[in-house]
């Protein structure tokens, strides 16, 4: 255990020395990795922001139950009792046909028109606010409410929610594809720098093997190198995204003012940063591992 720790500590120290030895070349590689990763990371953060904006702008999903004209007061109170005990409903409000007409006259400025009507054409209505807000639960609730007695129709304004969710889903797919592509690029970039490292340390590797170094011992510093490089690239990617969002916020503030929305791009934090760093570290390690595995066997003492 102690030996193992010592080996790792020394390998890590060796990598830091190497990084300090050629800071410019190493920084350049990290920058390349950082910029490559900032694309999927930025898109991901942007989608998260849009998702937040969507719930904010849309507010709560609402289902409107249009009651049959045959529903009498007893049937309506029955229905209300049922809604009250329903677990998936957060809140509901009964709007009688007379109330509805008054509201219409008041809000739409059509009082002249409504006053001229012989008979109130509006139905009784109950508006329901579901407890959940994800589209699937809401539309299941919607179908369920439609089946209730004396409910002629259940209306839901879900088309645009669905559209938005589809769009966000598409964006998430784009993030996945971009991550895969650029993750692959990261592996290749790391693999290549590690290959150059290996070649430049050919003598050292050969001598180490001659005096009893195991493959893991030889491999270890290169794996650390790849991981450190990937991690630093991830950190740079975060900085790029943070800087870009900062710049963009000047523009979005103007735009959201015009639309009377409270929207501000928030830079990813907490778990997202951790995820990004882990992803980058892991890919750097993987790139190094693939490269080392391929080239290490070529360097055998003769």
């Amino acid at each position: 255990m102690n030996v193992w720790l010592t080996h790792h500590r020394l390998a890590f120290a060796q990598v830091l020395r190497q990084l300090a030895h050629t800071p410019f070349a190493n920084l350049l590689t990290m920058l390349v990795i950082g910029v490559a990763l900032s694309l999927p990371a930025g898109l991901y953060a942007l989608l998260k922001n849009i998702d937040k904006l969507a719930t904010q702008a849309h507010g709560e999903p609402q289902i409107t139950l249009v009651l049959a004209s045959s529903a009498n007061a007893e049937a309506i109170s029955d229905l209300q009792a049922r809604l009250k005990s329903h677990r998936e409903i957060a809140e509901f409000q009964f709007i009688s046909r007379d109330q509805g007409l008054q509201e219409l006259a008041r809000n739409s400025g059509l009082s002249d028109v409504t006053a001229g009507l012989e008979k109130n054409p509006l139905p009784d209505v109950i508006t329901v606010r579901p407890a959940a807000r994800d589209p699937e639960t809401v539309s299941r609730l919607h179908r369920e409410l439609q089946q209730l007695p004396k409910v002629e129709a259940a209306l839901i304004d879900e088309a645009w929610v669905k559209r938005l969710h589809a769009l966000l889903g598409l964006g998430q797919q784009a993030v996945t594809i971009l991550s895969a592509l650029l993750g692959f690029a990261l592996i290749v970039i790391t693999g290549n720098t590690i290959r150059l490292q290996i070649l430049s340390q050919r003598d050292e590797i050969e001598v180490s093997k001659l005096i009893g170094a195991t493959d893991p011992f030889v491999r270890r510093p290169f794996l650390y190198h790849g991981a450190v490089q990937g991690c630093a690239g991830g950190a740079i990617a975060w900085l790029v995204v943070a800087a870009a969002f900062h710049l963009l916020n000047a523009g979005t503030d103007k735009l959201t003012d015009l639309y009377a929305l409270n929207f501000h791009l928030t830079v990813p934090a907490g778990a997202d940063i951790l995820g990004l760093l882990l992803f980058a570290t892991l890919l750097g390690w993987l790139g190094a591992y693939l490269s080392v595995s391929q080239h290490l066997r070529e360097i055998e003492p003769r």
Binding site: T6, G212, A213
Partner: protein, 217 residues
Amino acid sequence: MISFSQVAKRYPGGFEALREVTFTIEAGEMACVSGHSGAGKSTLLKLIAAIEAPSGGSVVVNGQNVGKMSRAAVPFLRRNIGLVFQDHKLLFNHSAFDNVMLPLRIAGFDPAESAKRVRAALDKVGLLGREKAFPVALSGGEQQRLCIARAIVNRPSILLADEPTGNLDANYARDILDMFKSFNQVGVTILIATPDPGTAQALNARLLTLNHGALVS
């Protein structure tokens, strides 16, 4: 300790470096392998350290059949063998101290304990004052001694030296041979490849002579 039986080594291309070589070196023995250039001296040493694999016969070191050893076991065999090379194989971007430290680092010794051992090894070869020097700053003889310090720092039971005095003048060469003698006196098994049969006489060691890959004496 080291036992060859019917060992043959053919390189790709058909060159036969060794044929039908059989001998045994007991623990604590000192021996010299001599022969003309290309007689197979280096190949013989490489077979012992598992740097090359025999094409026929068996090479047994410390009771282990080296030719049939798995790749993962080879490093542990080598930790028990000190290697001294004609071209030293020192790391030029590391100080003398770090060069000697390398085998201990590889074996995973405690750093503080290792530093003591490194100084002891440097002291034995008379380089204690030069531990901070880089190999370029050392003379040929000093580089060879540094290589020896690296070979013995891990206290191996076997020391293999491939023409250790090849590039040195007579005084330096005698120093080096004296060192081997003193290592042998503390029980290290030593095998030295040398083109000069007189070395064995000077060391009072057993002489194995190779001629075109065959053992003639």
